[in-house]
C-alpha cells in the first residue's frame, strides 16, 4: 500500500511539473496578492487588463501565475521566493507582498523587475529611493489618495468642528494616512477624535463610541474596514445624530456619504501598463512611481437622505462627482 501511495504521489508530481513547464519564448509574470480583500483583487484584475490592453495576454505571449498567502506572512515570504526564482517580472499587491518580493529578488541575485500597487508609502516601505526616480528594479503605483482635497469638502458643510478618524491599527498604510489627515485637520482648526481597531469585530463598538457631537467620520484606504462597510453603515444608522462618513476608496461608497480617491481597478491597470513598458524593454529605474491618474469621487445621496443629512448643493455639483 505504501508503494502504491508513493507511486501515485510521484506520478501526480511529475504530471503537474510537466504541465507547469510552459512554451519557450513566452514571458512569465508572477503576481503576489497579499490577501483576498476586495481592493487587492481589483488591483489584480486591473493589472491583467492593463497588460492585455498593451498587448500582453495571459496564455498567448505571457504566462501569469497568481499566488495569494491570505495575509499569512510566513507563506507570503515563501511565495515571494518562489516567484522571484521562476518569473521574468513580478507584481506585488499591498506593502507586505511588495516588500517580500523585493527582498526575495534581491537575495536570488536575478535582478528581475518588481512592479507594485496598493502601497501607500513606497519610500517609507524602502521599496524605492524616491517617487520620481525609483533608482533600481522596482516601480509601481501608490494608492495614496488626495486626503487634503477630500477633507476640504468639509468646508462646504456648515458648523463642523469635530471629525472622527477610524483606522485598523495593524495596517501600516492606514497609520500613514491617518498621520496626514491629522495634520490637515489641525491646519483647518478641526478637532480630531481618533479611533482605531485591531480587527473587524471591533468596528461596531468603535463607531458607537464616537461622541454624538462629532459631525464627520473619515476612513482611509483600509482593507479591513473596506471589507466591512455594512457594519459601519448599520452602526452609523444607530446614532441619534447623523455622521458625514468619508472614505478614500470609491469601493467603500456603500457605507459612506462621500468616497474620494483611489479606484483600485484603475490603479492596477496603470501598474499593468508600467509592467508592459518594462516587458518591452524599458528600465524600471527611470519609470516614476505615480498615484492613480483620475481621482474619482462618489456621493451617496440616497443614504444621506435616509439618515437625515442634507447635502450642500455645492458638494453635489463637485466636478466629476458620481451621485448615487
Amino acid at each position: 500500500m505504501k508503494k502504491t501511495t508513493l507511486t501515485l504521489l510521484s506520478a501526480l508530481l511529475v504530471t503537474t511539473a510537466l504541465a507547469s513547464c510552459g512554451k519557450t519564448g513566452t514571458k512569465k509574470v508572477g503576481i503576489l496578492q497579499f490577501g483576498s480583500f476586495d481592493a487587492l483583487t481589483k488591483a489584480k484584475d486591473g493589472f491583467v487588463e492593463g497588460l492585455s490592453e498593451a498587448g500582453f495576454t495571459d496564455g498567448s505571449n505571457i504566462e501569469i501565475k497568481v499566488l495569494n498567502p491570505e495575509a499569512d506572512s510566513g507563506s507570503n515570504k515563501q511565495m515571494a521566493d518562489t516567484l522571484a526564482a521562476g518569473q521574468d517580472l513580478v507584481y506585488g499587491i499591498a506593502t507586505p507582498s511588495a516588500t517580500a518580493l523585493k527582498n526575495s529578488v534581491d537575495s536570488t541575485g536575478r535582478n528581475i523587475p518588481v512592479v507594485f500597487s496598493a502601497v501607500t508609502d513606497p519610500v517609507g516601505a524602502k521599496l524605492v529611493a524616491s517617487l520620481e526616480k525609483p533608482g533600481a528594479n522596482v516601480t509601481g503605483m501608490s494608492d495614496l489618495g488626495p486626503i487634503e482635497k477630500e477633507l476640504d469638502l468639509l468646508d462646504l458643510f456648515s458648523g463642523i468642528d469635530k471629525v472622527a478618524t477610524l483606522i485598523t491599527a495593524t495596517e501600516s498604510n492606514s497609520i500613514y494616512q491617518e498621520d496626514i489627515a491629522k495634520t490637515v485637520l489641525a491646519k483647518k482648526g478641526l478637532t480630531e477624535v481618533a479611533k482605531s481597531i485591531n480587527n473587524a469585530t471591533e468596528i461596531s463598538a468603535a463607531v458607537t463610541s464616537i461622541p454624538s457631537d462629532v459631525d464627520a467620520l473619515w476612513i482611509p484606504t483600509d482593507d479591513t474596514i473596506a471589507a466591512n462597510m455594512a457594519t459601519i453603515k448599520s452602526a452609523v444608522e444607530g446614532r441619534t445624530t447623523p455622521l458625514i462618513v468619508m472614505a478614500c476608496d470609491v469601493g467603500m461608497i456603500s457605507g459612506s456619504i462621500i468616497a474620494m480617491g483611489v479606484d483600485y481597478e484603475e490603479l492596477g491597470k496603470q501598474a499593468g501598463e508600467k509592467a508592459a513598458k518594462i516587458l518591452n524593454g524599458a528600465d524600471p529605474a527611470s519609470i516614476p512611481v505615480e498615484t492613480a491618474d483620475k481621482s474619482v469621487i462618489s456621493i451617496n445621496q440616497t443614504w444621506a437622505t435616509k439618515i437625515g443629512l442634507t447635502l450642500p448643493e455645492a458638494l453635489l455639483k463637485t466636478e466629476g462627482a458620481k451621485v448615487i
Binding site: 511539473a17 497568481v66 499566488l67 507586505p96 527582498n103 537575495s107 516601505a125 501600516s172
Partner: protein, 319 residues
C-alpha cells in the same frame, strides 16, 4: 524548471524550516513538556519582529537586539506563568491576555514609526554581518545570499537543540518534565511545580522570540500582523513531526519536532510550485495534504498490525 527555481525550491523552505524550527521547539516545550496550551506565541512573535526592526533602524547592534528580545521573551513567559499560577487565571486565558498586551505594544511601536518598520536592503543585521564575512573569505555572491541564512540559523538551531538536550537531562530539567507529565506526583516528590512552570514558559517564549527576531532580520520587515497563524504553523509542524518521525526518547523527540518544521514548509513549497490555481485553493489543499500526511502513517501501522494478527492466527491454526 530553471536552475534558480531548483535552487529556490530546495533552499527557501529549508531556511524557513530552520527559523520556524526554533518556534516549534518553543511550542513543543509549552504543549508537550509542560502540557500547557500557550497562545502567547501570537503576541510575542509580532512584538519581537516589530521591535527588532525598530531597534535596527535606530542603529542598535543586531546581536544586542537578539539579546534584548531574548530577555523580552523570558519576561513575557514569566508574566504569563505568574498570571496563571498566582492570580489563578486559566493558562489558556493568561496566554490570550499576554498575547493581547504584547500585540498592543507592537501597534504602539508601529505607530511611533509612522506605520512602517521596514529595513532598507543594506541594513546591518545578523545575516548581513555573516554575508559580508563570507564575502571577505572569497565566497561567490549568489551562494552567500542563499547559504548565509542557512548556515547561521543552522548553527543557532544546533546549539539550541544541544543545550535543550543537556538542560532537560539535568535535575532541574527533569523536574520540569516531571511537572508537565504528572503534576500531583511531581509535587509529592518535592518538586516546586510553580517554579518549573515559570522556567519552562520563560524558555518557551525566549525561543519564540529568537525565531521572530531572526525572521524579521532575514526578511527586513516587522509587522503587527506577523503573529497571525503562528500557533497553527507551530502545532501543525509539531504534529507532523511526531506523526512521521519515531520519537521514543527525548533526543528523538527534539529531532521529530525540528523535522516537522521542515516537512511543513516543504509541503507548502510543493503546493506553491506545482499545484495549479493554488491562489484560490491553497488552504484547502493544505488541509487535505495535512490530513493525508497525518493519516497515512496511522493507516499503515494499523494495516501492519492487522496483518501480523492474521499471520499469528494462521500459525496457531496450523499448529
Amino acid at each position: 524548471m530553471s536552475a534558480y527555481e531548483i535552487q529556490s525550491f530546495f533552499l527557501s523552505p529549508l531556511s524557513s524550516g530552520l527559523i520556524f524550527a526554533l518556534l516549534v521547539l518553543g511550542v513543543f516545550i509549552a504543549y508537550r513538556v509542560l502540557d500547557i496550551a500557550d497562545l502567547s506565541v501570537e503576541g510575542v512573535f509580532p512584538l519581537v519582529t516589530v521591535l527588532s526592526c525598530f531597534l535596527i533602524l535606530r542603529n542598535v547592534n543586531p546581536f544586542l537586539v537578539v539579546l534584548i528580545v531574548l530577555v523580552l521573551g523570558v519576561v513575557a513567559g514569566i508574566i504569563n506563568a505568574c498570571l496563571s499560577i498566582y492570580l489563578k487565571i486559566p493558562p489558556l486565558l493568561s496566554g490570550i491576555i499576554v498575547m493581547a498586551a504584547l500585540f498592543a505594544l507592537s501597534i504602539i511601536i508601529v505607530q511611533a514609526n509612522k506605520g512602517q518598520v521596514n529595513l532598507p536592503s543594506d541594513a546591518f543585521t545578523v545575516f548581513s554581518w555573516f554575508s559580508n564575512l563570507m564575502l571577505s573569505w572569497g565566497a561567490s555572491k549568489t551562494w552567500v545570499n542563499f547559504l548565509s541564512p542557512i548556515i547561521i540559523v543552522g548553527v543557532i538551531l544546533a546549539l539550541v537543540m544541544l543545550s535543550m538536550y543537556f538542560f532537560f537531562g539535568t535535575e532541574l530539567g527533569l523536574a520540569i518534565r516531571a511537572g508537565g507529565k504528572n503534576r500531583q506526583m511531581a509535587k509529592a516528590n518535592g518538586i516546586n511545580v510553580h517554579l518549573t512552570t515559570i522556567i519552562g514558559l520563560a524558555i518557551s517564549s525566549a525561543l519564540v522570540a529568537l525565531a521572530a527576531t531572526l525572521y524579521a532580520q532575514k526578511n527586513l520587515t516587522g509587522n503587527p500582523q506577523d503573529g497571525q497563524g503562528m500557533i497553527v504553523i507551530g502545532l501543525s509542524a509539531l504534529f507532523l513531526g511526531e506523526a512521521i518521525i519515531p520519537h521514543r526518547s527525548f533526543k528523538m523527540h527534539l529531532f521529530a519536532v525540528v523535522g516537522g518544521s521542515f516537512i511543513y514548509w516543504y509541503i507548502i513549497q510543493i503546493l506553491i510550485q506545482f499545484i495549479p490555481k493554488s491562489d484560490t485553493f491553497l488552504y484547502l489543499y493544505k488541509a487535505l495534504l495535512l490530513v493525508l500526511v497525518l493519516a497515512v502513517p496511522y493507516l499503515i501501522s494499523r494495516f501492519k498490525k492487522k496483518r501480523a494478527r492474521e499471520k499469528e492466527r494462521e500459525e496457531s491454526e496450523n499448529a
